[in-house]
């Protein structure tokens, strides 16, 4: 187990290094920091001197190691637009995005387990067919269209929910303002979370259904039935427990994917999170902010994937052994 852990952590570090290299390459080639600093009304000699001072004439290795050293100390450069450390700008926006992901996760967990189990137990009822039909339609609708449709129906049409922004947020601590502490906050987060959940929900319903159906064929479930254990106990205690392992693995990876999809939902709902900020940074060619976003998001992906892999290795020793052998 220890060897596996070490190997996995080394791989994560390697991937982060590659990401930082990409980030550095972007920073090196995109935009000119001097122009942001002094404009165009400076003579060539002064420019050259400034370049020397800023270390822009140093060798690639030297510049990259400096970039890496700063990054390790949490310094990812200063945003051209906000005139603040880029990492701070992102950390201020991070809670909004994470709350959106959290809201969507609540909806997914709350709905996919009962729906998936039901469609697995009773695959031939009309309700199951409807659920499966709706789920394949759900997979086929891009998340931004779901979001637009929701705004059109529930915000513009019925006026039940607000159509943009976070509304009244309650300050918790640091940069964290929460949507979950006020009625207005709840009203604002429901539509974006639903839209974000809509892309993953069908996937999870189908996954839980498929795993559950496989488990229900197994010997120990038949034995439990023969023993006369109550069906609900068989389904929810014996069978469900064994379907959750693959579901958790896929789920962990999907949390990273959801961060990507937040860019779409945040754009439609003008949700002041990381994704929305990133697109603005792209339009302003705010290089340090783009690079910082790349590194923060890369970090989120690498950390979630590593944790999921470790949990999977911990719970399921066969996978662990197979990987160690490879």
């Amino acid at each position: 187990m220890l060897a596996y852990l070490v190997k996995r952590v080394f791989q994560a570090i390697g991937v982060m290094l590659v990401i930082s290299l990409i980030g550095f390459a972007i920073q090196d080639n995109l935009g000119d920091p001097l122009r942001e600093l002094v404009g165009q009304s400076v003579t060539e000699e002064v420019r050259e001197e400034l370049r020397d001072q800023l270390g822009l004439n140093d060798s690639f290795v030297k510049q990259y190691s400096r970039f890496l050293g700063n990054a390790l100390q949490g310094d990812l450069g200063t945003s051209y637009f906000f005139k603040e450390p880029a990492l701070d700008v992102i950390l201020k926006k991070l809670p909004a995005t994470l709350e959106l992901v959290f809201g969507a996760t609540l909806i997914i967990v709350g709905l996919s387990v009962p729906l998936g189990v039901y469609t697995a137990i009773k695959p031939n009822t009309i309700l199951s067919r409807i659920i499966m039909g709706v789920s394949i339609v759900g997979i086929s609708i891009p998340v931004f269209l779901t979001a637009i449709l929701m705004i059109y129906v529930f915000a513009v049409g019925y006026g039940w929910f607000p159509s943009f922004g976070r509304g009244d947020v309650v300050h918790v601590f640091g940069y964290w303002d929460t949507n979950f502490a006020s009625v207005d906050g709840w009203m604002h987060i429901i539509l974006p979370s639903l839209a974000l959940a809509s892309i993953m929900l069908p996937l999870f319903i189908r996954l839980i259904r498929a795993e559950m159906m496989e488990v229900l064929q197994s010997e120990y479930v038949k034995y439990a039935k023969a023993k006369g254990i109550h069906p609900s106990r068989i389904y929810f205690v014996h069978a469900l427990k064994n379907t959750l392992l693959p579901v958790i693995t896929v789920g962990g990876v999907q949390i990273g994917t959801m961060v990507a999809y937040t860019i779409l939902t945040e754009t439609v709902f003008q949700w002041p999170g990381m994704g929305f900020m990133f697109l603005e940074a792209v339009n302003r060619v705010d290089t340090p902010l783009i690079v910082a976003y790349l590194i923060v998001v890369g970090f989120i992906f690498v950390v979630t994937n590593t944790i999921v892999d470790l949990i999977y290795g911990l719970v399921n020793p066969t996978v662990n052994l197979a990987r160690m052998g490879a």
């Binding site: 394949i136 339609v137 086929s140 891009p142 783009i290």
Partner: protein
């Protein structure tokens, strides 16, 4: 001579018609309807220049005074525009036809690229094995752990910022194909590798090796044809995903430009007008996009059920 060739054609068709797959296809109304709708959309896309009443790329045919006419079944419409016009005064029906063409083209090309990369890597990885195999599969793991959409968004955003939007718009279609194509190769590579590992042990591969065929020939001519069915199943799902990815990227302004819109960029330009009541600019291309992706997914579902031997037993 011509008689002979038509005979071959007919027998090939009837062979397909009478095969297991043909039988299950005829028995499955969902698959039949899906295929018909898909064929209709594909034909519309292919013959867009012949069907479309206007050329949406021809600036001389566009008049800004015509903008935001509703579809013909709503009051205040102009009869020459079947589905109304968009914000620039383009005929929405023609623009949708051309847009569907672009969306389908990008989807198919991207999947072809994915398949080419993934199948080659999967074949080599499975056939050669050893260190190369574990290196390639580790790369596939890492690539898969990053969501395609995320990779594509960051790549396209940086490219756009680097080249400026004018140059970017000109080559957007190639960038889209490249990024969607490259970031999804592990899907193919993993599946192909798994089937290669299973096929490699069989006797026909041994006999081919004994006959002195080179590894290249064995991989492409012998093993590959026997691993086609999982490739078909993935391909349908991948085309649907690629079309959705393209639409999402274009929606964010990182894909096809408004002057040459795909379905996604049309929806995006319509989104700015949805609150002023011009819902059709978003809704009609939206419906086409969803129907297109849905029928591909339904076909994929059906194909998976037919080609997956696991379900035969179940």
């Amino acid at each position: 001579m011509s008689n002979f060739s038509t005979n071959v054609e007919a027998s090939r068709f009837s062979r397909m018609w009478n095969s297991n797959m043909g039988y299950s296809f005829r028995r499955n109304p969902v698959a039949v309807v899906s295929l018909c709708i898909f064929a209709a959309i594909a034909l519309m896309a292919i013959f867009a220049p012949l069907i479309a009443p206007f050329d949406p790329y021809d600036l001389s045919q566009i008049d800004i005074m015509n903008s935001e006419y509703p579809p013909v079944w709503i009051d205040g419409a102009d009869k020459q525009f079947l589905f109304g016009t968009d914000d620039q005064g383009r005929d929405l029906w023609s623009t949708i036809l051309y847009g569907t063409r672009l969306s389908l083209l990008i989807g198919l090309c991207a999947v072809t690229l994915q398949a080419f990369l993934g199948i080659s890597i999967g074949l080599i990885s499975g056939y050669v094995g050893g260190r190369l195999d574990s290196l390639l599969m580790r790369m596939a793991d890492i690539q898969l752990s990053f969501s395609t959409l995320m990779v594509a968004i960051i790549f396209l955003a940086v490219t756009q910022a680097m080249f400026g939007s004018e140059t970017f718009n000109q080559y957007a279609i190639y960038f889209l194909i490249a990024v969607i194509g490259v970031s999804e190769w592990p899907q193919y590579a993993r599946t192909v590798r798994a089937t290669v590992l299973a096929e490699k042990k069989k006797e026909y591969v041994d006999s081919a090796r004994v006959l002195g065929f080179g590894p290249m020939r064995i991989m492409v001519r012998h093993i590959l044809p026997n691993s086609l069915s999982p490739i078909f199943v993935i391909s349908t799902v991948q085309v649907a995903n690629a079309i959705i990815s393209e639409a999402s990227l274009s929606f964010l302004g990182l894909g096809m430009p408004p002057s040459q819109p795909s379905l996604g960029s049309l929806i995006s330009s319509g989104f700015d007008y949805i609150f002023s009541g011009s819902w059709w600019i978003t809704a009609i291309p939206g419906v086409i996009l969803v129907v297109l992706v849905l029928v591909i997914n339904l076909l994929g579902d059906w194909m998976r059920d037919v080609l997956n031997p696991k379900l035969y037993k179940g």
